[in-house]
Amino acid sequence: MTQLDQCPSTMKGEKHKPGKADLAAVPRDVSADLARSAGTVNGQAAWRSVDELADDAGFRDFLEREFPAGASELRLAEEADGADAASGGGATRRDFLRVMGASIALAGAATVPGCRRPNHTIMTYSRVVPEEIIPGKPLYYATSMPRPDGGAEGLLVETHEGRPTKLEGNPLHPVSAGKISSWALSSILGLYDPDRLKFPTYANPTRGRIEATWDDFRTWAGGNLSAFATNGGAGLAFVVDKRQSPAWRAVTARLRARFPNAAWVPYGPGECAASIEGTRLAFGRSMREVPTITKEGTRVVLSLDREFLSREPGELPNQRNFAATRLVLGPSDSMSRLYCVESGFSLTGGQADHRLRLAPSRVAAFAVALAGYLLPKLGAPDAGGLFGALGATMPEGNAARRFMQECADDLLAPENRGKSLILAGESQPPAVHALVAAMNAALGNIGVSVVYHPLSEDEAADSLAGLGRLAAAMRAGEVDTLVCVGTNPVYDAPGDLDFAELFAAVPRTITLSVDRNETEAASTWSLNAAHYLESWGDTEAIDGTVAPVQPMIAPLYEPALSELEFLAMLAEPDPTASVDGFALVGVAWRAAYPDTSASGGFDRTWRRALHDGVVPGTARRPEAPTVDQGAVARAIGAMRLPEAPSADRLEACFVVGNVGDGRYANIPWLQELPEVGTRTVWDNPALLSPATAKALGLEPAGYSEGDPSAIYTKPKYPQARLATITIDGRTVTAPVWILPGMADWTVQLTLGYGRTVAGRVGDGVGVNVYPLRGSAMGGTNRAAWGATVARAEGSYMIASTQNHWSMEGRTSIVRAVDLPAFQRHGAEVQVVMDHFYGTRANINFAERLGELGHTPPTKSIYDNPFNRSDADPDPANVDEGNRDYRGNPTPPAYTQRPQWGMTIDQTTCTGCGVCTIACYSENNIPVVGKKEVAKGREMSWIRVDRYFTGDVHDPASMLHQPVACVHCENAPCETVCPVNATVHGPDGLNYMTYNRCIGTRYCANNCPYKVRRFNFFDYGVAKFNGDYLGHDLIDKVGAFIPGQEGITGSGAHNTINPNLIPPRLREKIDEISKMQKNPDVTVRSRGVMEKCSYCIQRINAAKVECKLADIKGPDGRTIVPDGFFTTACAQACPSGAISFGDILDEASEVFNRRSNARSYALLGYLNTRPRTTHMVRVMNPNPKLVDAARRHSWDDPFHHAPAAHGDGHEEGGAGHADDDHGGGVGKDREAPGGDAGHGPASFRYDRRKLIEDRGYAGSLRVLSAPGGAAT
């Protein structure tokens, strides 16, 4: 039998035969004789000879799939053609070829690399290479990812020769709009997880867990599930991931129709059930609340413990839209105001103009008090006795009351009426959500800044309640067969259910999972699922937008079924029948999107959808339902808030951290992404406020109130104390860390850690706090009352990427001003003269806030020959009309285009860290593990610095500052490198030549920004947490080394840092993990320095692309137009805070932002002249909520900084007297207004047209709009 027409990727290797390492993971007990002897396991090994297989079902199936190629598509065509009879006698294989050929040629979709499901492979990659395929040049395909908490993200996948390497946001998807979340970004590692399930395993009652095949399972299922066909599925239960999409609905409907009596539990442990229940209370039906923040329609936002900027389904549009309301480019620009009442310190809290820290129950009291104050003033009718129900509680303390009243008055202000938004968070009970809906309705916000989408029954289902009902049935012995699809309830079920024991008692359990997990390990059948990048499917975003999921590669471990296919298989009477996700989607879509003449027929819809990654016109019309005040009143009346928390009755709030609800625990990028606030990695310590920790005796070793950072300076590894946390009799021992700005007597617990069966990365990282959750906790699954925290013996190491908390009074680092100050002084330009040297500089608003306002402009009296590059005009010349200080003419600055530069807006940056993950993904950055991070060796090229300002107990603000290599024009690193390994490029880049680098590390020492990263070990080449020679012995010996306790994040290697093992004895990175690496970027060896390169591989690819596309500027020279491509961080940034481009292109966003009054050079006084500039953070406080001193500072922000500005400016310098209000050449650049990106465009090019003309293959990473999403 020839395999010539089979996809090469499916032929390579032994797809059916697990590798050696896999066999080691599972007791290999399966063999041919077992297959013959065991009745239930039919070991039809697929690698047997043709003769043996000659006449069995497997062989027929094989024949059908493999020969003639594409023949099995006939079935799709036949099914589909029921509705398509008019199109000429039904689609045939020929039609399919035509369709697919068209999509290859036109859209670059689906099967181009030839690595699809074998039954769709039509042409070999080697025989007929489509013309778009250029080896070495990536192709981009659209797909989408279902988010774990509902909704979806549209993605563009970069594939190299059929190998997906990086995920990017789909610009055409309305939710993603070209942006992407850290979860979606890092899901590529889920595909290439070397610990993935690779083949089914079966827990044989007598022989233990044995390897099996899918055929075994199908045979087994045919026998064992046949009984349910007759009783309608009684005794059968499903715990499935919460999903919604047309195909999913179609398949689950079929499944549930077949098993009407089966228990059906849509389950998402991290979901926010209270919000959905709140909408049911307020509107009478379950709906999803979707904020629709707009610059015009949202002037005031109040978040009641709602982390709406991250970790929720709408995080991308929320970040994008909220950033748009905060973008202040000129003094006349308006800005929204954010009030935040929260228990922990979240990203949202970090963005807040006013923040109040309250325990979760006090936030509820705050909400009630606010409603009691607000609603009567609005003149709303007191329907249903709502007003009476309010007013029973008030937040304690004058500060809280004043905060509430001023906030309410702000919401009531005429200019803000109908232009505000109140959001209740996960920790709040449903009654508060309903009350907030009532307030939004009364304020006129519904339909303007918040809309509601109807939810299906599955989406509306309360996961924990559903699981509780299932557990009761299991306890009663009513469940005979339990099927878990994409869920892990054994790990993340609430603690009061004892789910693991119940699960073990179920006779037959079947788990389908992509990665290893606890449930799979405890199941009778563990089945390997296809990753979403390997399978067909579809998704539905929070606004209802449907997007296709198309495979980017054949399943790495075939055979594997996607969740959709698996459920479809179970829905079939004959489980051995073949299922095909492609057909499932096709059938569902043909039903959902009937042909119309407008749409041009289904084929065209389908092709367009595959190409665009989104089905146009599927976004639902949002609804603005009316609030049933009576129901809200009853809910509020029924709500019982506990007493204020105290030392023996703390409140606990559960948050979802970087690894989500735990499903991303085996993804090292997310484990090494610093957590918000604490910047800890590889852990989930319980967080307390400093005062609470001190009162409970739980402050970390070495903690002192005056210098909280001392916990990082005293011991070699920072040591947390351990504590037992008890809620309702359920106890967990966890390390305790402090977070300034936490509400007192509140403990914040992060879900998703403490996995025991996750893989080399996730095993044993942190502590599992799911057992602390109950299945019914007062309506919210994210907060609990009456927790006790008691000190336990022992200490625990905590690793953090940032050991210091405050800016130490160096307020010129993250410069922050209040909006009034910017409005009054933003347009001013100060001229600083140094008459001695004759230098002169025009200093904008932002620079006046820093050192340059006090020092004369730096000017070398020598002509540095190394500064004479085209990239490097003299700063004094820029403003002085190309004359040097003696008046002699100098060569024009920047003779060569492009000159790359970047700006980072600290106002809109939320600190989410997506840029960091995007950079990891793009630039092959290795993770280093917990101990290495604790030593300060993390490798992130772009990091997000976090500073608290103000009091340690109640910080005034949490400031975020992304810092990557700023590509100084006078780079301190370049002069000191003895081997010329880091040099300057003609386009302003600071190159890093790995081949040349010998690792003196002098450059890193001389880098004032400390952005250089050294490969202290062969991080990139060695397998993370891989095996090594003598591992068992060393671990035994290492167990006796003191001070090793509490080191997690290194899986099995808890005691000895495997990096200390000589590389020759260590396991090298596996072939699967290598597939993720970006082939355009070197994997660095040990001993070399690395740092941000401005994604030079993208720059060069873009240059080549533009040269080939013959894109010319006005002067006839080839240019790279703005927005043609951007760096990975700027591309991913959900709030559009990062801009990158040619600083000489006056139409570019980066030019406009660089010349903005808010733009300053970090540590610019060193005369490094960075190409990356930062933009002053602007805050918009309520004048009534700030003290007189801060208000006074608005008149003179340069000498009297506001409180958020930290310790303020120490003293004024010389040169303020001769402020030049309006003089200077720079004047017309100072106030571009809100019109960035639409200035005097010297050249415009229509990117969309380029995409249309050439497909994604012709374009590079594409931004959503010129000037970025935020403008």
Binding site: G936, G999, N1059, P1062, R1086
Partner: protein, 549 residues
Amino acid sequence: MTTIHPDQLTAQRLAGVIPSRLPDRPLDPVTGDGTLIDDPAVRAPLVLGGHSFGEVTDIICGYTENKPPRWWLPVFLLSANVAGLGGLFILYLVITGIGTWGLSNQVDWAWDITNFVFWIGIGHAGTLISAILCLLKQKWRTSINRSAEAMTIFAVICAATFPGIHIGRQWMAWMLFPIPNYNAIWPNFRSPLLWDVFAVSTYGTVSLLFWFMGMIPDFATLRDRADRRLRANPQGGPSVLPFVPVRADRLRALIYGFLSLGWRFSGRHWHRYEAAYLILAGISTPLVLSVHSIVSFDFATSILPGWHTTIFPPYFVAGAIFGGFAMVLMLLIPARELYPHMKDFITLRHLENMSKVILTTGMIVGFAYSMEFFIAWYGGNVYELFAFENRAFGPYWWAYWTMISCNVISPQLFWFRRCRTSPVIIFLVSLAVTIGMWFERFVIIVTSLHRAFLPSEWHMFHPSLVDIAIFVGSCGVFLMLFCLFLRFLPVFAMAELKAVMPQASPHAHGHDHAHPSRASVVGAHGDRRGDAPGDPNGHPAPPPPTGGH
């Protein structure tokens, strides 16, 4: 020069061929060993013991020819083992990676460069003594210059190790040198690290030449003595090692004969030797100032607060001399106790002089420390001021105050003559200064790096076992090499030493150098006043022994 002394016996003694009597001398309660004369009119003797030239030759050659003292082998083996262990750790470092040190992305240099600067600084005393004091005609240098130069060489060896192994890819260290390569990439001549490569290699080369050239006449003496014994006993004495059929004197004749480069004690040789010596001293003198200035450029040319300081070059040079003299004293004080008659050559006056140098340079260093603070305050730069506040009161305060107490406070003892002349106290102070100078480099490097501009990147440095082991190993290498030096090489420059003995200067003109002329030979006894020991035989000073004629 054809002068042959008529007294054959004396001539043979002078040539060191005939062993002679070795008297002992008691210590004078007032003038110490007799060299601590306060009377400015009296020129204190530089060599005690009233030895004849022959005796001097016997004593010094005896160090290598006789059985080593009882302590030698254990000390040598111990230091060799420590050195070997350090070598194994270096091997582990090279195999595994720089991460085995305690460095981080914030503190990229710590013990490695600390050790480098420390050892380079140690080396400075040797060059200073051999070059600058030579040019300044400080006669007392003659009895310590050989060992100080040896120490320089060994310190440079230790120092050169660290830049070599501290880089990430040690096998690429050759890229530091301007070697023409196929892709025509030259080193970056703007980088102070490259200047270091040139400075240290120049310094090492010149120091080695200086040291070796100075030893050539002494090698010839050792060669001749072995040769004479071989003539008397063709068996060549005992074998070097059991079961090894190599006789010690044969080996000596061979090796020293090779090393002496055909030296025949001819006047022409002496003439050229003296000229070359002066030239080398002239070449070395700027090196004393340049090497550590350039090493300090590693820091001074950077932009890091705490490093970016124009005071560094003079301050580093003073510190190097300071630390180097302390190390010379640390080595010579035990040696003069342990080796017979070494006290006659290294007198209390030598110790006192070196203590004075330590006191002076220590105060220069202390002045530099205070000026750093003053400038940081006066400059008004918050980053700069913080760097120095952080040194004194930050998490590494203990290192800073160790440095201050060792480098600034402990040398103040040398204001007291009793302390300057007590070998025990000098040794202890020298030990303190050596520790303090190591900490000075540690403080400069680590405290500046660990809290630089952006507080987000503040990080602590903790040394690892490998850090410590490699430093201790370098100390082992140093001590081991010095033990070998004491055992196998002429510890004193015999000819120079004889030239500062009273016999060499029989007349009142007070010749500075052991450069005898016919006039000095025929001259009468000159300035022999006080109780300066004279030649017991009353012979006029002969020229240095010559082999021919």
